[in-house]
Symmetry: D2
Subunit: 350 residues, 4 copies
């Protein structure tokens, strides 16, 4: 018996990826598609422009979309939990409404930094799920909210986790982010042709704050933020999928490049140990070529769930510098949510 | 009477820019076009694919290209000095041959780091020209070599110069560089469509070493390297012209963003004071929008000779971070050479 | 004394081009900027994203935008005539309201095919302006409406006009149209990266019908449609500006390629004879290279007002085939309107 | 027992596709990789830049490349037949050398139009294989040459074949072709960014002549050319893979759009009837949307072996117009060769 799921924000770019990745999922099946009033009561195929390369499954196209409120969703079907791909602006109250009754696995930024809500990367901080009972008790909810980080944060933090053993202190990143990160319609073609846009709204703030929580320590009551400093400069480039980052890190311990490479290559997390359906064999793949990773060549590694690292070299100012790449709408969005839900399913939260 | 000039490497991407920018130049005129044996003795129009938007001037097209040796050039015309746009690999000995008799203003990397050869940005270190007499004496040359820095170095260092007054200590950059920086044919379209290439051969080494010499102090005998540290990560993006850089700097003195902005805006150099023909009114232009500079919109500022800076903000790890943009084949290449020659003309070197 | 003009639809992509091209215009000056309610009463700079490379003139930025109704415009200033860059959907009634009092030079499609309204290309059918008195009498208007054709139509018809002397019968075109033709935000970057979109709404209908009116004969009472047949297939490609067309034509008379080339090269119209300020020296420029015209290299010919033709060759099925290129937002939009107004000014219509 | 094959021209863009598509092929296995002298005696991984998204198989990377002469190939292994992905210029004599002993399935243009050599599309003219015995007898060869058409030709002709039943008379096409069609390095990025190139060397000649042979009738002795006329205009656009064509056709019989659609949809060929491993279920897929096919969305249909057609509509001049799209390096190149070889295997030619 598969768990039945509602997707809130099902018509957007991330909602579409959820639909694509949940096709033939062994544990979960889509029961309800919810979106804004504008789409409610229409067939899914009449609500949006499908932007993925593979066609939308015909049976999904024929489903009737409902409004994103708990009554409408419950009228449309019995669901075990909810994926939220809602826009940041409206996710806050809607997710809280659902959390009173249902587990909410959210890609939205609204609740990420709240102290009793997990900000989860299953390979990095699975123990943070233990905040959930505290959250339910605090808020008197039958359900709960667990959040997934910002797309750029996820891939970065997966590479920072193994570096924690070397005494990670400082992280400077400059990102080159893909168009799909802005959703649809997102970036106008007239803005990005023959161009780079050196600004993404709120992205620097997110990538500077979220990792501190994710890499923090759960002390049984709350998460103590990690004692690291991050500086970020975020840019939009003319690439369809795949965020690429120049990363400069300072490590307290003297460390060789070989040790860093080894720490990346041998890094595995709970999803790998549990064999979760969406877990890639290797959360981090290291490429040895002088000019990799590259978005078009490397974004689909591990079905888009692996982070690809390359050009690991000594840094003349900090300690080490490297490039990292992740698929922003798979590992950075819908795939992240599904992997989180898989972990929660195994751990008994959903 | 205009000074007559030979262009070595006249058929390449930088050579073409020299030709374009020297059209109607008030002080210089093209007398000889020199290139490799493959092009020698052909009409210029039959030697290359012209890659600039404005057509090649017809009278240039009809000129006969000669081989890049001193005899062939002298046979073709009397020249007062030489611009070298030769490829790094072959520039070394050829430029030395010409320097025995002629001033050589070189865009090539071969001699940049040699101790008695200026590495010049006219707004930044015009006093380094005083190495030239030492060079001539050292090498027993009637002419001399003066070099222009790497394209990414030039725009970076123009923005670093005013920051020196605040006690500049550390600089971390991540670049997003344009296709024209790789010359023609350069980057294959199949490599860059929907992609970023996180590697440019030797670019990180150049941008980490050249600024130390340019920002160094000439003590009457030699240049003492500046006491700053630089770390660089270089990327190729799908943009025609205009290198964009994320820059993070550490300053010793406490400084406000307003003071940094003011130091950029009021920065002028000797070319501005002398009113050199190719000098932009403002070497640095500061844009206040949250999403500028952008290559397609800002690269032509000051006829491609201004560096455009934006997003100047506090850095959580170092002191300040900002974006800077420069036109890589104008300010970063041919325009740099011409401005250098203009300064040398006024100063009596050519 | 310059004629004062209001721009209706001043905030859109074509409105911006009108503003740019009217800077320093010798005959016309901008008096009023009008746009939809959403922009009314705001400073121009606060109403839109400026999408052109050169900055918006500061004095324009400070102008207050008014609503596009006649009262609001009149309250804002005294105008001699009106440029309409309104969206097709709303242009119809608004232009009619203004035409009761003012000459309206319209880029909108609403009235193009009406029998008593000129569809004007100044080089092609300047005599069609004689419909205006009939229109004013018919409609009892003090002003009038004159329309400019669709962007793809204009460049095509300029090349068809000289071919009329050879007995033009059939025209088949396949277009590759630029992003700016869709306005801003227009085409989403996610749709066009690594892609072509083989459909542009209503474009095939427009390019198949409008030329018949433009190339038709004014018999003193009305325009008799030209007896030619046109078939069109329209595509959007990843190019910023410049529509490129593959054109196949059937001519009744036996004609050599040389004669066709000559007919293009010697083609001049009334704007050239009158020396109108925006008239290019050559409405058609023929390139002899095997691979021209190309959008990025040729779109700015004649300040964007020339149509560039190339690859003129025999056609195995019809008679001749060739490529033609025009700048879609200059010759195809704002520049077309300004040139039309210049002609009307000389002819005493405005 | 799989048939063993040598790939001539194994290092180029088409050679790489052959390698990719032959991985795990049920009938064929790669025994020898041959390329020019420059690559000979090196490991495959040291000979080229791999340009496909999926990595080159490691065991292929370790194979030693040999020179493309029969002795070197025979020394390297026993092969049953040969795929030729050689450049047009050198394919002629090399293929003839191999054909004296081996079946040669060639993607090169050298022999396509020779009267006793098949120009094969397995769905279209499988009966033309019967020329092979005549060829062997004519030329006194133990092997033979069979050729695959130009990439644009293949996808076009697959759509023309079902139209033959309606009395196909005239075909006019304008193509928008992908970058990968030019091989690697192929088109320089500086040439195609923000641009279209309206010229591809020899492409118009090939697409105008090859279909006449393919659609011709084998009368037991030779192929009688089909009595149709074709005019072609070929353009390069900024798309990675997938050639898109605007097609205008004249049919003798009165035909409705529905009948044309049906003829496309029901079209199957011998590869489908035989269930060949590389045969797509549907050689032609019809999309009903107003804006399809599009290269990025539709090029991988049928694993890149289906041609996707859309926008089928009446033509005001000829009879019908439509868009067609095919993956140029799969259906248009390596996949075409493999499907041809599969047919020849079943028919006993190899």
């Amino acid at each position: 018996m598969k768990r039945k799921v509602a997707i809130l924000g099902a018509t957007g770019a991330v909602g579409q990826r959820f639909i694509q990745l949940l096709q033939d999922h062994p544990w979960f099946e889509i029961e309800v598609l919810a979106a804004s009033v504008r789409s409610a009561d229409k067939k899914y195929k009449d609500t949006r422009k499908w932007i993925l390369s593979s066609d939308c499954p015909p049976e999904i196209n024929e489903m009737t979309v409902v409004n994103t409120d708990i009554k409408s969703v419950e009228k449309a079907g019995n669901v075990d939990f909810v994926f939220s791909a809602l826009p940041g602006g409206i996710a806050g109250p809607v997710e809280e409404e659902f959390a009173m009754k249902y587990p909410v696995v959210s890609k939205a930024s609204a609740h990420r930094l709240e102290v009793d809500i997990p900000l989860l990367i299953p390979e990095v901080n699975p123990d943070h799920l233990a905040i959930i009972p505290i959250q339910k008790s605090n808020r008197n909810w039958n359900g709960f909210i667990s959040t997934d980080p910002n797309c750029s944060t996820i891939q970065l933090v997966i590479t920072l986790k193994p570096l924690m053993t070397f005494g990670l202190k400082k992280v400077i990143i400059s990102t080159m982010q893909a168009l799909s990160g802005a959703g649809y319609p997102g970036v106008a073609s007239l803005e990005i042709i023959d161009n780079v846009i050196p600004f993404i709204n709120k992205e620097e703030e997110k990538t500077e704050s979220e990792p501190l929580k994710i890499l923090g320590t759960f002390d049984g009551t709350r998460v103590q933020q990690a004692n690291i400093a991050i500086s970020s400069s975020c840019n939009r480039v003319n690439v369809k999928d795949g965020h690429l980052q120049s990363v400069f890190v300072e490590l307290e311990e003297e460390t060789s490049i070989e040790e860093v490479v080894k720490s990346f290559e041998k890094f595995k997390g709970k999803p790998q140990r549990l064999g979760l359906p969406s877990a890639p064999d290797n959360p981090i793949i290291v490429r040895g070529e002088e000019n990799r990773p590259q978005p078009r060549y490397d974004r689909d590694e591990g079905k888009g769930m692996s982070v690809v690292v390359g050009r690991i070299r000594n840094d003349p100012i900090l300690t080490v510098k490297y490039m990292c790449l992740g698929h922003n709408t798979i590992r950075g969005a819908a795939g992240a949510g599904i992997l989180s839900a898989e972990l929660m399913a195994v751990e008994g939260y959903i």
